[in-house]
């Protein structure tokens, strides 16, 4: 916001006048805030990660933002979850429960003895209405581990409220660490801070004048999901660590319809999503949805007016993910000049990368994983033609790396033999790995539609 410096002065003055109140509210609300540390185990390293979480209920459930864990990481790679209360260095252990597909949140459960020291966010009254424009909200930031995650106050005023597609407040200043709650002046729960948006700056240096750059504050955020969008979802604790069941439509390459196009097609004041690609055998295909269909409504409700246009695609995705496999989704579709209704019975999302079987071959320097349904989309083949394995990881400077192998390469043959299954490939690679007299082996690899021979030199 352009008025930022002025507003900040104003806010500081106001906060000064009311400091006693926030000071009173602060300690109790601090108990619903934690820092979470865990280890990510990869083929060649263990990497500690620190994120922030909010206490969701009295059973020690903690939610973390979706971005806290990279999507390709298997749950087995996430180790030693530890929960720290702000300003302490004594950790409590916690268990990872999985990711909710609709909110994207990751759920943890902290050990019993910590629970008495924590207060769920639901213990505080929720703001009855959405915050007014200009209303002051506040939240908590946490310093790094070397400062015992010391808490500090952050304040900001509501600059706008928009649908992305959830109701979201954009504030004039950073109000909380991403993943932590935001309160109003009365101490009511007003929202949950999301990851901050990028901000445009010009970079001046001795060599360059005014180079545009995008900066993102990763420790603090000025964006908050409103309480009414948070509270109904706190109970979406995954039943399985996989996060399943996950509803699946099977239409890909969704693109928002440009308003000018809507007008041209006499669909004024309607929003729509163009379908680019329907995967064979998917629920969308079975229901008769076609490429180039323009989806205009879900269950008879026209799409809301959302900006920027691409938010509409997120909205449609969420309409699917908030349902369960087996539910029916009625789509109103424009096909050419016709308008028709397509009833899709949602399926179960095919196996995801984080669920795929995988194996690391240390001497060769690569990890391969199963060929997944989604790989057939990337390689533009029919799902039934997906054989062999996909490269998941290539160790730097290893024989595989020297040979030019890259992650996401599709391995189709090894030593001239077609790899029909994951088991074929891992067996073959294990034999090569074990054979110390082997000088080299050859793989047939597809990348971006091109299939070529790669020779891997061992020793």
């Amino acid at each position: 916001m352009r008025t930022f410096p002025l507003l900040l002065l104003f806010v500081t003055a106001l906060a000064g006048a009311r400091a006693a109140t926030i000071a009173e509210l602060f300690p109790a609300r601090l108990k619903s805030v934690v820092a979470v540390e865990f280890l990510v185990q990869t083929e060649i390293e263990r990497r500690p990660v620190v994120v922030l979480g909010t206490v969701a209920d009295a059973n020690g459930t903690i939610i973390l933002p979706g971005s806290a864990i990279a999507p390709q990481l298997a749950p087995a790679q996430l180790k030693d979850f530890k929960v720290y209360r702000p300003g302490t260095s004594e950790p409590f252990t916690a268990e990872y429960l999985g990711q909710d597909p609709f909110t994207g949140w990751h759920f943890l459960r902290v050990e019993e003895k910590a629970r008495a020291l924590l207060t769920p966010i639901t213990a505080f009254p929720a703001a009855a209405t959405e915050p007014a424009l200009g209303e002051e909200l506040w939240g908590i930031g946490l310093r790094n581990k070397d400062e015992d995650f010391a808490p500090y106050l952050q304040l900001g005023n509501v600059g706008m409220i928009t649908r992305l597609p959830q109701k979201t407040a954009i504030l004039t200043a950073d109000v909380a660490g991403p993943g932590l709650p935001v309160f109003n002046a009365r101490g009511e729960f007003a929202g949950l801070a999301l990851n901050s948006f990028g901000q445009n700056f010009l970079l001046f240096s001795r060599a360059q004048n005014g180079v545009p750059i995008l900066l993102v504050n990763v420790d603090e955020s000025s964006i908050a999901l409103l309480a009414e969008e948070v509270l109904p979802n706190l109970g979406r604790i995954p039943h399985a660590i996989s996060g399943r069941p996950v509803a699946w439509l099977g239409a890909y390459g969704l693109q928002p319809m440009d308003p000018a196009v809507a007008k041209f097609l006499h669909l004024e004041h309607q929003s729509g999503v163009v379908v680019s690609d329907i995967m064979e055998g998917s629920p969308a295909a079975l229901a008769g949805l076609k490429e180039r269909d323009i989806i205009l409504a879900v269950d008879g409700r026209p799409f809301p007016h959302l900006k920027p246009d691409r938010v509409l695609v997120v909205y449609l995705g969420q309409q699917v993910l908030r349902r369960r496999p087996g539910d029916v989704l009625a789509l109103t579709v424009r096909r050419g000049t016709e308008q028709l209704e397509v009833k899709v019975t949602l399926g179960e999302e095919p196996k995801m990368v984080r669920e795929a079987d995988r194996q690391y071959f240390e001497r060769l320097g690569l990890t391969v994983r199963e060929f997944l349904y989604n790989d057939s989309i990337a390689h533009r083949i029919k799902p039934a033609d997906g054989r062999g394995v996909v490269v998941h990881f290539v160790k730097p400077n290893s024989p595989a790396a020297t040979a030019g192998l890259r992650p996401d390469d599709w391995v189709r043959e090894i030593d001239g033999v077609e790899m029909k299954t994951y088991a074929d490939a891992t067996k073959k690679l294990a034999a090569i790995e074990a054979d110390k007299s082997r000088a080299e082996f050859v793989m047939l690899v597809s990348r971006g539609g091109e299939t070529s021979v790669l020779r891997v030199k061992l020793n």
């Binding site: 693109q255 319809m257 440009d258 690609d277 001239g416 070529s452």
Partner: protein, 441 residues
């Protein structure tokens, strides 16, 4: 001591050689020209003119000049030649061949005659007879410095490199090897001759490693003479294509249980190409072409094999003998005409849109179902294309519900639009995502 002796040896030899070379070398100097080219580019949503400087060598008394394809190409609208006498004469393009980075232009002889100008033409030498270490000279216009002579030796006679975008985005290098020299070659030397001490043209200087020192490359005269003859005859070089991408076999003979110096690895097969349709696969070993054995052990052996295929008449049947695992198989492939990835380009000024036709090759490389569509090269801010949200790299597949199978189709729609401007529905794809746009007057 031995070094000194060697020096002495050359010192006694040199004067005799110099005397012999002066006549031939002078003749050569009089045949080298500077070429100034203005050409159209289609990069930013409109036609723009770009100027460049290169070199060339006159090879016939009817004014044919050999230069690089990256100096003079079909986008050139004005070619101006500066003769050794420093007189300027205009020229026009006879033909070009980006695969070998060669182009042929012809002086405006009527003008030459009218103004009473004269020139000499250079003689070709035999590039096959060169030896590493032989002294050679590069003549040309580096960085616009007209008539610069630099000296070096032949560093390597058959260097291989293929570059899929080497000549202004066009493919080059698949069908010939290159002479490598340490004679200084800089931007602007392009198209100038590499000559022996007696002034015989043994190469056309073409490229250098920017940032490296004394690594220059020239197209051998054997290739240049053949291509020039084709260009005079037909204005282009027609080649055959079957879709094999070769790899060298070095170190893999044992793996494939082959006798040494036999076979060429088929590294990949272009999807949808004649070879793919015939059933050839990556990792097959090509043993013989029409019964003639091939040897692709080293990279520099690959261009001659590719050239053998390219030289077959388009539409001819070629027998490929292949080893697959332990099997020996024969395939018959019908050749197609070789096409560049780069299609025809066009500017639609009122839309502020420049495009390039999707070629068969482009479609193959990008896994498009066919060659329908045009690629957006650029959009001009504030014009209908840019306003609609379409961007560089999008592929326009439909306009006004008509599939854009060729450029003429879109030109027709454009003409109708300029005659009666009305909102126009455009369908475009990017990474297989379909989007709709409206061009509004």
């Amino acid at each position: 001591m031995r070094l000194l002796l060697a020096g002495l040896f050359f010192a006694t030899l040199l004067p005799a050689a110099s005397a012999a070379m002066s006549r031939g070398f002078n003749r050569l100097l009089n045949a080298v020209v500077r070429i100034d080219v203005r050409e159209v580019t289609f990069d930013e949503g409109t036609k723009r003119l770009e100027a460049g400087v290169g070199s060339g060598v006159i090879i016939s008394d009817d004014g044919l000049i050999l230069t690089n394809a990256h100096v003079a190409d079909p986008h050139a609208v004005e070619i101006s030649v500066t003769l050794a006498s420093l007189e300027r004469v205009s020229a026009r393009l006879v033909g070009w061949d980006h695969w070998t980075d060669l182009a042929l232009i012809r002086l405006d002889l009527a003008d030459v005659k009218k103004r009473g100008l004269s020139f000499t033409h250079a003689e070709f030498g035999d590039s096959d007879a060169l030896y590493p270490g032989q002294t050679v000279y590069a003549v040309g216009t580096p960085h616009g410095l007209t008539r610069t002579v630099t000296r070096g030796i032949i560093s390597n006679k058959s260097r291989y490199f293929e570059d899929s975008r080497g000549v202004r985005g066009y493919e080059t290098g698949a069908f010939n090897t290159w002479l490598q020299t340490d004679a200084a070659i800089n931007p602007g030397n392009s198209g100038g001759p590499l000559v022996t001490e007696d002034g015989l043209v043994i190469g056309i200087n073409s490229r250098t490693y920017i940032g490296a020192e004394n690594l220059g490359f020239a197209i051998p005269s054997r290739v240049a003479r053949r291509v020039a003859a084709e260009l005079v005859k037909q204005g282009r070089v027609t080649r055959s294509y079957i879709g094999l991408v070769p790899g060298f076999l070095r170190d893999l003979e044992t793996f494939y249980s082959l006798a040494s110096n036999t076979g060429m690895l088929i590294n990949s097969v272009d999807p949808g190409s004649p070879a793919a349709r015939a059933g050839l696969r990556a990792s097959d070993i090509l043993l013989a072409l029409n019964g003639v054995k091939v040897d692709g052990r080293f990279p520099e052996q690959l261009p001659p094999i590719q050239n053998t295929i390219a030289n077959l008449p388009v539409g001819s049947r070629v027998k490929l003998s292949v080893k697959r695992g332990a099997q020996l198989l024969d395939f018959t492939v019908v050749t197609e005409k070789l096409e560049s990835r780069v299609g025809e380009e066009w500017a639609f000024e009122s839309w502020g849109l420049t495009v390039r036709k999707v070629s068969r090759t482009y479609a193959r490389e990008n896994q498009l179902p066919d060659d329908t569509g045009v690629i957006v090269l650029g959009v001009q801010p504030g014009y209908p294309a840019a306003e609609s949200g379409i961007a560089r790299g999008d592929i326009i597949t439909k306009a006004a519900n008509t599939a854009i199978t060729d450029l003429a189709e879109l030109r027709k729609i454009y003409d109708a639009y300029t005659a009666h401007p009305e909102p126009l529905l455009i369908e475009a794809q990017r990474n297989r995502r379909i989007s709709l746009y409206i061009f509004k007057p």
